[in-house]
Amino acid sequence: MNWHPPFRRAALLAVALALAGCAGPPTIRGLLKERYPGYDQILPAATALPNEPGFDYLPGNILALALAERKSWKQSALWNNVGIFCPTNIPLSALKPSIRRSTKVVYDVDRSLRKALGLSKLKTSLQLEPNEIEVLRRVSISIVSPKIYALRAGAPRPRYVDACIDALASRSDLHKINSVLVGTVTIDLVFKDNVSLMARLNLLNKINGSFGFGAVRGESYSIVSENVVFGARIRPIRLKPPRAKPLLISMSRIN
């Protein structure tokens, strides 16, 4: 289709406005839902350890998770890592990651977010009061060099420790990690003019918490986490209880 330039510009503008209208909340959960559907956020966040076979966010790991926030139309689910897990003992360096394109999502508080969410939902997603939202102009989240690690065909088989699997068998909150998203996450916050330093710091404290990770770097108001596991695709799993062992020993004694 060979569109006339003014029509093309109008069409692009219409598409941009429609996308802005569909924007999710400016949180990692919102970004996961929009750009990496099927991936959830797990706290605490962790720097990816390439050579650690006992790392708790390895694909194939079995771990206990507590649901903190259910998934919604606009946001993926949020889970708390209970800290009870059995690793595959296959470090990330033994897996070939699937490289994804870097991505950036810009949330304009003045326009798109107000239209898409309304004040009450924005308040809920960032956990801010209405007067605190007023000081924000824009939030952008970018993911640089994202990679997906998964146990695909041809990858080494998990080497679970039997004693670990047996110790977990009775639990009902177990999940298996199918794959993890690793990348550098940067969150930039742009404030309106004439906002005091104290108001900015107060807001950053709150936002930093609601994003779940990152560090605020002084005056630049960027929250940066390098090489971090920022999403995981998980599924619930039930383990078989450990098998009884003493029967064979007593039979051999009888014989």
Partner: protein, 250 residues
């Protein structure tokens, strides 16, 4: 009469066992729960994580060790674990696994005190404190900021964790209530911003109280503002959040 005794027992114990609230740590516990997940609580006072020189692994901070804690709730969520260094390690204590995690920067707590020096938190009593400082000290302080960098999370696979706490319980006896499952530590900087015009004598007095109460070895450095003094404490690899469960681990 039995009911009366039962009520006296319940409320009597409740009243005598009532702990002073710490409004600063209550808010910090909320942040810990929000950033690291509600399974983690703030540990008071922060303690030094062991380093490579602890070859026998006798220091405090190893997941798999057993502890006694007092537990209180954060302001809205989270937990505050208070301790008096009552812990016991299994022999041998397992080697730690660790990975980097979220840093906390520019977290600000504004002192919840009225101009008259009374706490403004609902349900406050005169015995309550702010970061272990009484209202008498805290009335000179405008705000506290906490920054934690080089943050690391220490943890163990479950079978090793369970085995370690079981061995510790056998060798250390029944007087410990919790198993330490995970620790988050980092380089902690606490800045204390004083109200305008406070005398240097008051600042130094409060510095000594903070150093003793929050277990800082380093001297607090005085910021360069004459009119609004700032005290800065910095110390490396302090454990500030933990996850713990009552023994025996399930």
């Amino acid at each position: 009469m039995k009911i009366l005794f039962a009520l006296l027992a319940i409320f009597g114990v409740g009243l005598t066992g009532a702990q002073a609230r710490d409004f600063g740590y209550e808010k910090f516990a909320d942040v810990v729960a929000q950033v690291y997940g509600s399974q983690y609580g703030v540990i008071v006072p922060f303690f030094q994580m062991p380093d490579a020189s602890d070859t026998d692994r006798q220091a405090e901070g190893y997941p798999g060790s057993i502890w006694n804690f007092g537990a209180a709730k954060g302001r809205n969520k989270g937990t505050i674990y208070t301790h008096q260094d009552q812990y016991c390690n299994p022999t041998p204590a397992p080697a730690l696994l660790s990975s980097g995690t979220t840093q906390v920067n520019n977290w600000l707590y504004r002192t919840e005190l009225s101009a008259g020096g009374d706490f403004t938190v609902t349900g406050a009593t005169p015995a309550d404190v702010i970061f272990q400082l009484t209202a008498l000290d805290a009335k000179y302080i405008n705000s506290f900021s906490i920054a934690i960098t080089n943050t690391r999370r220490y943890y163990l696979p479950y079978n090793i964790l369970k085995d370690a706490t079981s061995r510790a319980a056998v060798s250390c006896g029944p007087n410990f209530a919790y198993g330490l499952e995970s620790v988050i530590a980092g380089d902690v900087t606490i800045k204390i911003f004083f109200v305008a015009g406070v005398s240097s004598g008051v600042v130094f007095n409060i510095r000594d109280h903070i150093k003793a109460n929050l277990h800082f070895k380093a001297e607090g450095k005085l910021g360069d503002s004459e009119t609004n003094p700032v005290l800065v404490f910095t110390e490396g690899q302090k454990a500030f959040a933990i996850r713990a469960e009552p023994l025996p681990l399930k």
